[in-house]
């Protein structure tokens, strides 16, 4: 196995949880809701995902448990922000804090247990293709699922009518409401989709990435996913670029250290974040006419009847 191939495989694995969580959050934000609780939903997804897989012996059951846990967490958020019209920023932060505590409680009995990680795909013929086989057909299924998910979200948002309505709810909830669209229902479904993706992203960590559960194992990946949505300027295609760029810089800085390139490692650890800032500046400079964010992002909507 060549070094370059090894690096690409590591980048794929490192980027996948970011891509999954960011895709969910992108849909949520496109509907006008800012859910800062991604980290909390992810870590609960990790605890439940591992628990499900450990108890059942099945990775698929584990992934489903992670998804369900993420959705349940997002429903708490939906109840607060959509039902009770609570400030979204505060509710999202609270959700993260809740999630970190809750995951420790749920996961306490699974700490120190092991599972067999999700198998790497093996498609006869395809996986054996030199150079590209392992990369395109030889990682675990989550990697390819995450890419398919982004494609699906792009298609939904830009090629279907419900996708158009969802974007309308996020850009101008009053108009969407006046046209007779159920804004709160749309937003609730979007929040739930975001929760499902975050739960799956969290579950990916103990199911495929590092096959054990430890409290706090998401280690801030939920926050990176949030940054990626902004980085991608709310466009699904750019999300792939952003997630893989972030993963690539993270992995390459580790390799650069191993090669003994004389750059301080603290600087290299900061590189992915620096890259995010630079791209943000470039994007905002390249565009005239203001932000690309959904116009109603983060605003509370209470329908007047």
């Amino acid at each position: 196995m060549g070094l370059i191939e090894a690096i690409i495989l590591a980048v794929l694995a490192a980027s996948t949880p970011l891509l999954l969580a960011a895709t969910g959050e992108l849909v949520t934000e496109r509907s006008g809701v800012l859910n800062l609780g991604v980290e909390g939903m992810m870590i609960v997804g990790a605890a439940c995902g591992f628990g499900g897989a450990w108890l059942s012996g099945s990775i698929i059951v584990g992934a489903l448990c992670g998804i369900v846990a993420g959705v349940l967490m997002s429903l708490i958020f939906a109840l607060m922000t959509l039902g009770l019209a609570v400030n979204q920023v505060a509710a999202g932060l609270a959700l993260t804090i809740l999630g970190v505590g809750l995951s420790g409680l749920i996961g306490a009995r699974f700490v120190g247990e092991r599972i067999t990680p999700a198998p790497k795909l093996r498609i006869p013929g395809l996986t054996d293709i030199p150079l590209i086989g392992r990369i395109f057909f030889g990682e675990d299924a989550f990697v390819y699922l995450s890419l398919a998910l982004v494609g699906g979200v792009w298609f939904f948002l830009y090629k279907t009518r419900p996708g158009l309505i969802l974007r309308a709810a996020g850009d101008n909830h009053a108009s969407a409401h006046a046209l007779g669209y159920p804004v709160l229902k749309i937003r609730m479904l979007s929040v739930m989709f975001g929760g499902a993706c975050a739960g799956l992203a969290g579950a990916y960590l103990p199911l495929a990435y590092t096959p054990f559960f430890i409290p706090g194992m998401t280690a801030g990946r939920g926050w990176i996913a949030l940054a990626l949505v902004v980085f991608a300027s709310w466009l699904p295609g750019r999300l792939i670029i952003g997630a893989y760029l972030f993963g690539a810089v993270t992995i390459l800085q580790l390799h650069a250290q191993g090669w003994g390139i004389g750059i301080p490692s603290q600087f290299m650890s900061a590189l992915p974040y620096l890259a995010t800032v630079i791209v943000l500046v470039l994007i905002s400079r390249a565009r005239t006419g203001g932000s690309t964010a959904p116009a109603a992002l983060g605003t509370v909507f209470v329908p007047d009847r």
Partner: protein
């Protein structure tokens, strides 16, 4: 508003004291500040095992409280002060980054005794305690050099503080006694705990030709990567053989229990005073996990080295110690570097082909 809150809190405290008055007066309250979750299976896990051992020893005489996941730096000051205000008479702060905050709170609460792990600042009511982990690292270096086929060791480091640097130096010094040309590749994760990143670092090291993984970060992720790839690794802080039954060579286990028992006993007897305790293999603060996955001759060599260090016959930092620049380091301890030199170590020894980040 603030006054009302204070009054309410005071009222609650008074009622609380009234309710538990009898027991609270008898029991010694001991507080702990942890950097990670108690279930991290590494650093914090070992501290909590020690706390439990201490509670078992004293039973009803003590009452313990711990705060987990407390970030290092100024933020931790509030948590430490919270424990002091809650009536804890002895408070253990168990990470390097709590040094300044602990010192600050210690000055504010002269009647409370503080114990700070792995730091170097003391006060009349603040002790320090740490482990001579470099002793274990020296043994690991010997094992690694014996077991490595490629002659390249992979080392996942956390932060460039003296404890970590002395660990790297001890490793290479041990390894050089077997193979003078041994190479070591060092990757700084710049975190104590991020399983994903630790695993990525282990993968990078293996992909670059290292065949033995050693770590100074806290999760078993690196061990698991080594196990998956059929390579060998050393555990960290605690027994990690479960994560690599065919990969773990040994592990440096931090055994804080006896120290906690001793200090709480001193507090109960009223004989506590500020000290600097630095225990190693001899005082059993550093314990090596069973030597596994190696041939008998390597195992024998490892055990002999362990015995020699325990008896004081072998010093990992035996003079002459030569720095990267080829110059001999001043030998303040006579035959070996003195404790101050090890505790403040900020240079690599000859044979490490790398630079300390930020230097």
């Amino acid at each position: 508003m603030k006054k009302i809150l204070i009054a309410a809190t005071a009222a609650m405290l008074v009622t609380g004291a009234g309710l538990f008055g009898a027991s609270a007066a008898d029991k010694l309250k001991v507080g702990f500040i942890y950097i990670g979750p108690v279930g991290d299976l590494g650093w914090t896990y070992q501290h909590d095992l020690a706390r439990q051992a201490m509670v078992k020893e004293f039973g009803d005489k003590v009452e313990t409280t711990f705060l987990e996941n407390v970030s290092e730096g100024p933020d931790s000051e509030r948590s430490i002060e919270q424990l002091a205000r809650a009536g804890n008479k002895l408070i253990f702060t168990t990470s390097f980054g709590y040094m300044e905050p602990t010192l600050k709170v210690a000055k504010k609460y002269p009647n409370v005794h503080f114990e700070h792990a792995t730091g170097y600042k003391r006060d009349k009511n603040m002790s320090t305690y740490s482990g001579r982990f470099y002793e274990g690292r020296y043994i690991q270096g010997i094992i690694a050099a014996k077991m490595s086929k490629s002659g390249v060791l992979g080392y996942i480091a956390s932060f460039p503080i003296p404890e970590v640097i002395s660990g790297i130096n001890a490793t290479i010094l041990g390894a050089q006694t077997i193979n003078p040309n041994i190479k070591i590749k060092i990757i700084w994760a710049n975190t104590w705990f991020d399983p994903g990143k630790e695993a990525d670092a282990a993968k990078a090291l293996l992909d670059q030709g290292a065949d033995i993984i050693m770590q100074h970060t806290d999760s078993p992720a690196a061990m698991q990567v080594a196990a998956e790839r059929g390579k060998l690794a050393f555990g960290q802080d605690s027994e990690m053989i479960k994560f690599g039954p065919r990969a773990q060579l040994t592990s440096i286990m931090n055994n804080w229990g006896p120290y906690y028992v001793e200090r709480v006993k001193a507090e109960l007897d009223g004989t506590w005073k500020s000290e600097d305790f630095w225990g190693g293999l001899k005082s059993k603060l550093v314990v090596m996990a069973p030597y596994t996955n190696m041939p008998d001759d390597v195992k024998k060599l490892a055990m002999e080295t362990e015995a020699a260090i325990t008896e004081g016959k072998l010093q990992p930092f035996k003079c002459p110690i030569v720095g990267q620049d080829g110059k001999e380091v001043e030998c303040k301890g006579g035959t070996h570097l003195d404790d101050g030199q090890v505790l403040g170590m900020n240079f690599y020894v000859k044979g490490i082909d790398d630079k300390i980040p930020g230097k």
